[in-house]
């Protein structure tokens, strides 16, 4: 065996090193030094992120007989996730240093890094065994993280809901997988595609549906989304923000890889239509549920469900442009959603309030928080000149690139849904800026880590769209990918 193949996995290995260092620090450092765990982890991760940007991309390399593959796009999406995780880490500093967390904050970081490792595997896996390992290691530790707020009942309810549905989902997924295996005789993506040829039968369609359901669960596509709202609401805010952006981003990319690599030849016959149905259902149901939510986290949960639908539009296009648009969308979505969660977290950490009515008159007491929240909402709603507009526009453009009338109708439905989504995003703005009620939240100074997080995210919201560099480089990475060879 050629051990130099491990070099291809440099990003994963780097992450493992970070994980180990954090583990060692947590285990062996004196108690006093443990106060610095959060800072240590963040800085370490920052270094890793930077290094990953610089040395991460080694071009298209397959390793371990094709089980593992990395390319410009893969390293790009990993880097994007890294940025998101970095922001989550910064934002969670205050929470991690809080009274309740003192004993367990090391575990939080370790679990988080492990799940990220799992996601890396999901992204780079070209063999279902590796993929399943990645999937499970990305979801099981998350259940523990969701349950982190030991003293809150909701946290446990969320954890058990997540746990049971996740295992159910992976059972269904593997059921589907077993039939795919039965039909193709291989678990290599590449071989599956070769073996299946272009013929398909009922079993394969149902198996494919099961596979889609399994990954769709991670992405919280309707109707596999039902866990999302409860879990987001119950989990600690930092975990929710992590769940809502990072794991979704990784899953979306993995979803794309599976669909085009294994089942690419069935695109226009089978799963294009499945995706249409899923996208319409996801966007619509997510929006319809979101409009009457009162709890901010639950509200953002439904909003993130409908955002997942938009992300899927990038897959429907099934070309480089769609891939780039999807990655760009994920990047922008990370910043926008994290800005929103940053504000929610800051307020929750200070006052414990998460209801939308608590935000009434926020602009008068905490103008900067309100402003960040508003920008986040505008970006999520796709209002220019904020990044969300560009990402939405590009993802619609990439979808329409496919050219059929059906896709126009699909996009039209998605666009009409943006109006519903605008409505509920504006509800938040209305509460903060327009509602004449007495402000519920007194003026306070949020922790410097929270402010740093907000500055980064708000800066991203403003800059990611207007500065074309980000999209251009993503597009450059995506246009080199050989992912779409089987589409036809």
């Amino acid at each position: 065996m050629d051990y130099s193949q491990f070099l291809a996995m440099r990003q994963e290995i780097g992450l493992l090193i970070v994980f180990l260092l954090v583990f060692l620090y947590d285990t062996f450092m004196p108690k006093k030094a443990l106060n610095a765990t959060a800072g240590f982890t963040t800085i370490l991760f920052l270094l890793f992120t930077v290094a990953s940007f610089i040395w991460g991309n080694i071009g298209d390399v397959d390793a371990f007989a094709g089980m593992y593959s990395t390319s410009g796009v893969c390293s790009m999406i990993k880097n994007i996730l890294n940025v998101g995780v970095l922001i989550v880490l910064i934002q969670s500093c205050r929470w991690a240093n809080g009274e309740l967390m003192i004993m367990r904050r090391g575990e939080f970081y370790e679990l988080l890094l492990v799940t990220l490792f799992g996601m890396y595997l999901m992204i780079s896996a070209r063999h279902f065994l590796l993929f399943v390992i990645g999937l499970e290691s990305a979801s099981l530790p998350l259940a523990a993280m969701v349950a982190f707020d030991k003293n809150r009942y909701e946290s446990h309810e969320a954890a058990i809901k997540y746990m049971l549905t996740a295992v159910f989902s992976s059972a269904v997924f593997m059921m589907g997988l077993s039939f795919v295996y039965g039909l193709s005789g291989s678990l290599y993506f590449h071989d599956i595609a070769l073996q299946l040829g272009s013929s398909f039968n009922t079993t394969l369609v149902v198996a494919l549906a099961f596979v889609i359901a399994g990954v769709g669960f991670k992405l919280s596509l309707v109707p596999f989304h039902l866990w999302t709202a409860d879990v987001y609401q119950g989990a600690p805010t930092s975990v929710t923000s992590y769940l809502s952006v990072i794991s979704k981003g990784a899953a979306a990319f993995a979803f794309l890889v599976i669909l085009v690599q294994c089942f690419g030849q069935f695109y226009s016959m089978v799963w294009e239509w499945m995706l249409y149905a899923l996208i319409i259902a996801t966007i619509t149901i997510g929006n319809l549920f979101a409009i009457r939510q009162k709890n901010m986290k639950r509200f953002l949960a439904f909003s993130s469900i409908s955002q997942a639908g938009y992300i899927m539009l990038g897959i429907v296009g099934c070309n480089d442009m769609g891939l780039a648009a999807m990655m760009y969308y994920i990047l922008v979505y990370i910043f926008s959603n994290l800005a929103a969660f940053g504000v929610i977290g800051a307020i929750e950490n200070q006052t414990g309030k998460v209801e939308m009515t608590d935000y009434n008159g926020l602009s008068r007491t905490n103008p900067w928080l309100a402003c960040s929240m508003m920008l986040a909402m505008f970006s999520l709603a796709g209002i220019p000149p904020f990044a969300g507009f560009f990402s939405k526009f590009f993802i619609f453009t990439s979808a329409i690139n496919q050219g059929s009338v059906a896709i126009y109708i699909l996009v039209l439905i998605a666009l009409i849904n943006t109006i519903i989504s605008l409505y509920y995003y504006l509800l938040v703005v209305k509460a903060m800026y327009i509602s004449p009620d007495e402000p519920q939240i007194a003026n306070f100074r949020s922790a410097s880590s929270e402010r740093l997080g907000l500055w980064i995210t708000v800066g991203g919201i403003v800059a990611l769209g207007i500065v074309s560099f980000f999209y251009d480089s993503i597009m450059e990475a995506a246009s080199g990918s050989a992912l779409f060879a089987f589409i036809g």
């Binding site: 399943v132 446990h156 309810e157 992976s170 059972a171 077993s178 039939f179 709202a229």
Partner: protein
């Protein structure tokens, strides 16, 4: 009588359905976990059977099954831990009691 593949697949399918049925009807969360195990094991059987009957030259399905068993164990451990937590907080492991967050 020769035991063809279908003789294995049908029980596995039945197992899977039992698991689903159990998951949906049982109130005890431990029972639900057991149902989940049933489902996962049905998947394992499938893999093994397919490997054995269709692609006997390779071992991919077998290996997958091994890993799946490991994963199932991890899942169960974690699930039980959380169930215990839930029990500590709400004094109940009835699954229908954990529905405070809804709509």
């Amino acid at each position: 009588m020769e035991l063809t593949m279908i003789y294995y697949l049908i029980p596995s399918l039945i197992m899977f359905c039992c698991g689903v049925y159990g998951f949906i009807t049982r109130r005890n969360m431990i029972a639900i976990l057991i149902s989940l195990e049933l489902m996962l094991n049905a998947v394992d059987i499938n893999f093994v059977v397919f490997n054995r009957f269709l692609f006997p030259g390779e071992m991919e399905g077998m290996f997958f099954t091994l890993f799946a068993i490991g994963l199932a164990a991890a899942e169960t451990a974690l699930a039980i831990a959380i169930i215990i937590n839930v029990f500590r907080v709400s004094n109940s492991i009835d699954v229908r009691d954990v529905n405070k967050m809804k709509h």
